[in-house]
């Protein structure tokens, strides 16, 4: 009812205006209408700022000083892409928002279909987020991944999203449909040219049927100058097990926003992750977990290690809709601040409209436990190494809960590398 004060357009918003006009000129009429709708939704809100409650701790309007030019179609060398490292996988490569078959696995895999989608994704998002709308308006390409009902896919499905170039922006759209009874491990990585400054905005829509068993690992290892925004919308059928893990290491600024909705009863969802931050990195993980139906269980466990001048933001909201009785939702956020210039903002929320539920959330913030440190040092371990051991132990607890062997191994290796833990041992 109160018209918000008119805010002047920022330089980034002006650049986006031009980019949208150029995008619109190149698309078909049908596609253009959908883009326009999304664009209007974005324009109504503008780039989010701290007065937008969901973005309170990540003032994108200030941090996104410009919108880089839309990245063009390129084909980088195969060895530029890291993905899941040494694992044997089925690779789907997306460069600058576009599917690149030459860099992807080419033999067919039973139960899996990958099709290139044209531009806009008609995503039925559980969100009205401005940055998700921006993706829909500017998306450069996309793919649809289908996993057949009852298919068990042994090899990890690896989705590598690579932004090629500097001072460019990429908008990727992905739709994933997972049939009932399917079983798979999906490892998606977000990466780009090391040292390059770029912006990546990804929108992924996942629909999972009944009785499926899915593990989904996200590796965010963008360049240290990148700005990364990912919107993930998840819908889960009945009696499904869905486990998601975010490994967040890269980007100067990153925001992962997850919108999860339970559509069927008896489903378990685990959302977990670790944030490893240093220098002046800013990482934001924001969750909306909507228990729309009864008898579902959700676990949201995140841990952050924040050093130097870095800042970790965690916002999680568990919503229990009227009638969603017997809901069990537990959220826990633990953070370690390793320096006096680091910062943590946590906002674990509960929004409950049903009475027969068990919901809890907790949050702890602090430094390494002095007693534990003393214990290790009393046994002859130098302080620096003792600290690393304790940080590794702190993060490993979260990693192990993901309960997928290949992922746990990969995550522990990446965590050790970040900590330079192996160098210490050999010294």
């Amino acid at each position: 009812m109160n018209a918000p004060a008119k805010i002047q357009e920022t330089k980034a918003e002006q650049s986006l205006n031009a980019q949208f006009d150029a995008t619109l000129a190149q698309t078909t009429q049908d596609n253009a209408n959908q883009r326009k709708q999304a664009w209007d939704a974005f324009k109504a809100k503008g780039i989010p700022h701290r007065r937008v409650e969901e973005w309170h701790y990540t003032d994108l309007r200030t941090k996104m000083t410009d919108a880089f030019a839309l990245a063009s179609k390129t084909s980088p060398k195969a060895d530029a892409l890291t993905g899941a490292g040494g694992l044997e996988t089925y690779r789907i490569a997306i460069v600058n928002g576009r599917y690149v078959p030459e860099l992807s696995s080419n033999q067919a895999l039973a139960g899996l279909t990958v099709t290139e989608a044209e531009g806009f994704l008609a995503a039925q998002l559980g969100t009205d987020d401005a940055m998700a709308h921006l993706n829909q308006a500017l998306v450069q390409g996309g793919i649809t991944i289908k996993i057949d009902a009852d298919a068990t896919i042994e090899a990890p499905i690896e989705i590598v999203r690579y932004t090629d170039g500097t001072e460019v922006s990429s908008y990727a759209g992905t739709s994933v449909e997972i049939g009932s009874g399917a079983k798979a491990l999906i490892i998606e990585s977000f990466e780009g040219d090391a040292e390059a400054a770029y912006q990546s905005n990804a929108l992924t829509e996942v629909k999972v049927g009944d009785k499926a068993n899915i593990h989904w690992l996200k590796l965010q290892v963008e360049s240290e100058k990148a700005q990364h925004i990912e919107t993930l919308s998840i819908e889960l059928g009945a009696e499904t097990n869905f486990q998601h893990f975010i490994y967040n290491e890269g980007s100067a600024l990153s925001r992962a926003q997850l919108f999860l909705e339970f559509k069927g009863e008896g489903t378990h969802a685990g959302l977990r992750g670790t944030c490893l931050l240093k220098d002046s990195q800013h990482a934001d993980i924001t969750l909306f977990v909507n228990h729309a139906v009864p008898e579902c269980e959700s676990r949201e466990y995140y841990r952050a290690v924040v050093d130097d001048k870095a800042r970790a933001v965690f916002q999680g909201k568990i919503i229990v809709e009227p009638g969603a009785q017997k809901t069990d939702g537990q959220m826990m956020i633990k953070s370690l601040l390793l320096s006096d210039t680091a910062e943590i903002n946590a906002k674990p929320e509960l929004e409950i409209f049903a009475d027969d539920v068990q919901c809890a959330h907790g949050s702890t913030t602090g430094d390494i436990d002095e007693d534990l440190l003393f214990y290790l040092m009393a046994r002859g371990i130098p302080e620096a190494q003792a600290r690393k051991i304790l940080v590794l132990a702190f993060l490993s607890e979260a990693i192990e809960e993901f309960e997928e062997e290949r992922s746990v191994e990969l995550l522990e290796a990446m965590t050790r590398k970040w900590l330079h833990a192996d160098e210490m041992v050999s010294e």
Partner: protein, 438 residues
């Protein structure tokens, strides 16, 4: 007496101070249609307590707040004595025990009197905790407040009795904008309690008070609230909008401010009694019981702002929702760069009675200091069938059983209230939950 706001105070009333983040819904408030000043009905103003409307005294008695000194002298033990300042509508009508307090050097009087008698204190401290431009309702209050309570406890004095203010809104269409200022000088202690009621009215009434507490070195202030404003009828019609700004400033080292609140009334309660822990080693506490029934809405909690070294805070919040009410705890705990060794423990428990109500928890935890340790936990549950069965098997009816279980649930907070009000608060809780079961 209709009042137009001075244009200097508030430039625009187009935006009625609504926050996008608060979980409260209400129709637009017409600030032009509000009465900014109302005096109690006896236009002369009561000269003694005998002249006060007997209906008001009755309400008073029900609340268990002894207003007349005789009553106390007649029977109640001396340690139970309470000095009361009663504010009806916009005017302070009676302040008891003034002489005895004056002997100890404690100043307890209507703020209108303090402005005349102690201008140096008022000038020094008024607006120093809640600045005029702090938020919409604080600005409004600053522009139009007419009375309230003032307390000054001199250095080293332990206030000999509980101080209390009793607020009541009588007039139709009235906004009550009282202002409370409490200053505890070095090494002093004061315990202060406010009680609030309002009679039944069809229209919504606005209560936009500002409370400022200042604790200097080694001082302690304990501020308790038992709020029982009219919550509106069973259809959600009428009731008080309780939009209050309460803030305490632990200005110097080793000071302590403790807020205890029992919120049972009001159509909408929207307030966050806060502590600014500025002095080193200062402590802040917040104990809250918020009960919502019928169509009530509550969005309440606290802010603990750790600025000094070795500061500690503790938050215990118990929310109970019944009927079709919405009950939100919203609290902020922040440690600034220099707040080394800051400690916070927060516990928020919500209890749901019935499946039409909502219970929400929104904590904001912000730490900029690695030696700060913040712990937060929250749970939401309902009264279990086992608990009900146990009580009912022992002959309690359903309502009694609920009251008993709820009283157990909130015990941690009740214990923080001064003794004589703890009993009253327990009664209030039982009354508030009437009709919530069966």
């Amino acid at each position: 007496m209709d009042a137009k706001l001075a244009s200097g105070g508030i430039s625009s009333l187009e935006n009625d101070g609504r926050a996008t983040w608060a979980r409260v819904e209400y129709p637009k408030i017409d600030f032009e249609d509000l009465h900014y000043y109302a005096a109690p009905k006896n236009t002369e103003g009561p000269k003694s307590l005998d002249e006060v409307d007997p209906e008001l005294l009755e309400t008073y008695k029900k609340l268990g707040i002894p207003l007349s000194e005789q009553e106390i002298l007649a029977g109640v033990a001396p340690e139970n004595r309470v000095a009361v300042d009663a504010v009806f509508d916009s005017v302070s009508v009676a302040t008891t025990f003034k002489e005895e307090l004056a002997k100890a050097g404690v100043i307890f009087c209507p703020i209108s009197e303090a402005v005349r008698e102690h201008p140096e204190l008022v000038q020094k401290y008024l607006g120093s905790v809640v600045p005029v431009s702090d938020n919409f309702y604080a600005t409004l209050n600053s522009a139009v407040f007419s009375d309230g309570s003032f307390v000054y406890v001199p250095p080293g004095v332990r206030c000999p009795m509980e101080l209390s203010t009793y607020f009541r809104i009588n007039e139709k269409n009235t906004g009550q904008f009282e202002r409370t200022l409490i200053i505890a000088d070095k090494g002093s202690y004061v315990s202060y309690l406010e009680g609030c009621t309002a009679p039944q009215r069809d229209e919504n009434q606005l209560h936009a008070a500002v409370v400022e507490l200042v604790a200097l070195e080694d001082a302690e202030i304990k501020y308790s609230t038992v709020q029982n404003w009219y919550p509106g009828d069973s259809e959600g019609k009428g009731g008080i909008y309780n939009f209050v700004t309460k803030r305490g400033d632990c200005r110097e080292k080793n000071s302590k401010i403790s807020w205890t609140q029992v919120e049972t009334g009001s159509a909408i309660t929207w307030k966050y009694p806060s502590c600014i822990l500025r002095g080193d080693n200062s402590q802040g506490e917040f104990y809250s019981i918020a009960i919502s029934n019928g169509h009530q809405q509550i969005d309440s909690g606290t802010k603990m702002i750790h600025l000094g070294k070795n500061t500690a805070s503790r938050i215990i919040s118990k929310g109970i929702s019944a009927g079709v009410s919405q009950n939100t705890y919203r609290g902020q705990v922040s440690a600034h760069r220099k707040a080394s060794n800051a400690r916070n423990f927060t516990q928020c428990d919500s209890l749901l009675i019935g499946d039409k109500c909502g219970a929400h928890t929104v904590p904001y935890i912000e730490s900029k200091n690695s030696s700060a340790v913040f712990e937060h936990e929250a749970t939401t549950s309902k009264i279990s069938d086992d608990q009900m069965f146990y009580c009912q098997a022992r002959g309690l009816d359903e309502e009694e059983a609920v009251a008993l279980i709820v009283n157990g649930f909130v015990r941690d907070v009740i214990q923080q209230l001064p003794m004589e009000f703890a009993v009253e608060a327990q009664k209030l809780i039982s009354i508030s939950l009437e009709g919530s079961v069966g």
